[in-house]
Amino acid sequence: MNLLSVSNLHVNFHIKKHELAALIDVSFTLNRGERIAIVGESGAGKSVLGFSIVNLISKPGYIHSGSIKLENKDISKMNLRQLQEIRGKRIAMIFQDPMMTLNPVLTIGDQLVETIRSHTRIAYKDAKNIAIQKLQHVQISSPETRFNQYPHELSGGMRQRVIIASVLLLNPDIIIADEPTTALDVTIQAEILQLLLSICEDNGVALVLISHDLGVVSKVAERTLVMYAGRIVEEGPTLEIINDPQHPYTQGLLNALPQMALPGQRLNQIQGSMPSLSERPSGCAFHPRCPYATEKCQQEQPSFINSGVSSVACFIVEDMLNEFADEEEAYL
């Protein structure tokens, strides 16, 4: 059984009597100990997807339909009390900017201990011991001193370590990391990423990594979902996605990597920009930016098809596959 299975998830934003769809028909699964990545440009709906897994979408967003099943319990139908039991204990989150994530007026220790004590009946002293042990685990020097310090006394990388420690406190099954290294400088990025990876591997924790950085994704995730304008457009093993991207959008993303351009040349970029929620194009939302778009792409939404190892939602790929199949048949 899958640890987490999201099926046909629709998330809407209710703004001034208008219903704007932020996520459309999103389905994916996550196995115990598996590491997946969600990639896409800003505004693709990656973070909304991440937050909706713990039903923590900021208002006026809400889950319109679909289900998010943790084992056999549907998170989208839980009340606040049930959600509070799951959040932090079974599914924990790491946020983008460690400078903003910790409460500035509470000590590191307070913020660690409260997490443990709100989920388990345990004496303060024992909770403190666990917290200090976890701080050690994420390689924070002199954890006893840090325990009594305030967030502003720590550097950005340190704070992200504290946050990772806080996420580990209750040994969750899933960690959702929303761009955990974006706000850090490059050398710290690599360290934090390595730490996150080894923690997931050592403890068998499943990871949902939300990122726009394909370099980061290729180092960490086993499977990758590519999102565009609220939909998943391609899904498959990370290596496959990177070496043999099917969807024109994925190809564009990979082409846009700086290492894909020749020295002295302009970087390749995808023409145009991500549509806003209220201006979603008809048919395949990517068609205005797609170099291969046909009339059919403007009118109909492509469904998911399996192209060998990965799945993709694109008419061009579909047509090509059909052609191959026909040729093969003719050959036989």
Partner: protein
């Protein structure tokens, strides 16, 4: 900490010098004290003589110098009306005013905080909507109307509380005449402190609401939710503490406004405090008393602001007065 207090003391001295100059400068613009002191029958020559005796004919600088010299020895002059040292007159009235202001502040905190927090957490709740309406009315209605209205309703129509005076007092610590320790005193305190509280309640409720709403949008609150903490812990520990930081600063400044409002409240309710004394002093052109009042109130201002800064340092860990000697 010591350095902070020392700096504050020097700043306070500056402020006090400026206040004393201003309060002294307005003295001879207020009217003729002699006219108020003596009867109709006193002749012009005698009046002139009295003026000479009181030093009212000397130049401004001479008068100010004399005043400062005495002030540094703790003598701010003698009241023309009471014929007693002004400080003695004022300090007799201090307990009444401080108790009134203290009760008003307690009321503001006790009422504004829960309503502000509720209005921020549940903006669509019926009570929140009522709070918003009442506070916007409260902001636009002047305090003396509120006071007179309350007086009419509570003491004339319903006869629930007395409308003037301080009632019985008990002596605490040998010198402090307090109305807080017996029923009659507390009863008398009710209306004045409530109407004084009304001066600040609406603005504080709205400030707390606005500030809290902003804090609730922040990333660390979202992170707190993602940790599965209880709503109470998030609202009252994570959010409220951050909400209170700017409120404390504003509260310190508004404490001054409160003193200004005591003059109004005390006059309306015949509360025998400093504000009432000041109004009397103005109508009697008791100039030494007027300037002494201004100086004492200025001093209280400086002290409250220092205390507020100290409290701020306690609540906000990024400001550590002790280690940086700010």
């Amino acid at each position: 900490m010591l350095i902070f207090l020392l700096r504050r003391f020097i700043q306070a001295c500056f402020v006090m010098v400026i206040i004393s100059v201003i309060s002294f400068a307005i003295q001879d613009k207020l009217g003729d004290p002699v006219q108020q002191m003596v009867g109709m029958t006193v002749s012009v020559e005698e009046r002139q003589q009295l003026r000479e005796q009181l030093g009212l004919n000397d130049s401004f600088l001479t008068q100010y110098w004399r005043f400062t010299k005495n002030a540094l020895q703790g003598d701010l002059g003698t009241s023309f009306y009471y014929k007693k040292p002004v400080l003695e007159v004022i300090f007799q009235k201090v307990p009444a005013t401080l108790e009134l202001a203290f009760c008003a502040i307690v009321l503001v905190v006790l009422i504004a905080t829960p309503f502000g927090v509720l209005a921020a957490i549940k903006p669509k709740h019926a009570i929140s909507r009522i709070v918003m309406i009442v506070t916007s009315i409260g902001l636009s209605v002047p305090i003396f109307i509120v006071a007179i209205l309350m007086m009419y309703l509570f003491s004339i129509e319903w006869n629930l509380a007395p409308s003037f005076g301080r009632g019985e007092t008990t002596q605490v610590l040998g010198f402090w005449e307090s109305g807080l320790f017996n029923k009659d005193g507390l009863n008398h305190l009710l209306l004045p402190s409530l109407s004084l509280a009304f001066a600040l309640m609406p603005i504080f409720t709205r400030l707390i609401r606005a500030e809290m709403m902003e804090v609730l949008q922040s990333e660390y609150i979202r992170f707190a939710w993602s940790k599965g903490l209880s709503s109470n812990r998030i609202y009252f520990i994570h959010a409220l503490k951050n909400t209170m930081l700017p409120i404390i600063t504003i509260g310190g400044i508004q404490a001054g406004t409160l003193v200004a409002y005591t003059i109004l409240t005390e006059t309306i309710f015949q509360w025998p405090g400093m504000g009432f004394l000041f109004m009397d002093a103005v109508s009697r052109v008791d100039t030494p008393l007027i300037s002494a009042y201004l100086i004492v109130v200025g001093g209280m201002f400086v002290i409250t602001n220092t205390v507020v800064d100290l409290i701020y340092g306690l609540v906000n860990p990024t400001v550590r007065l002790a280690s940086h000697g700010l």
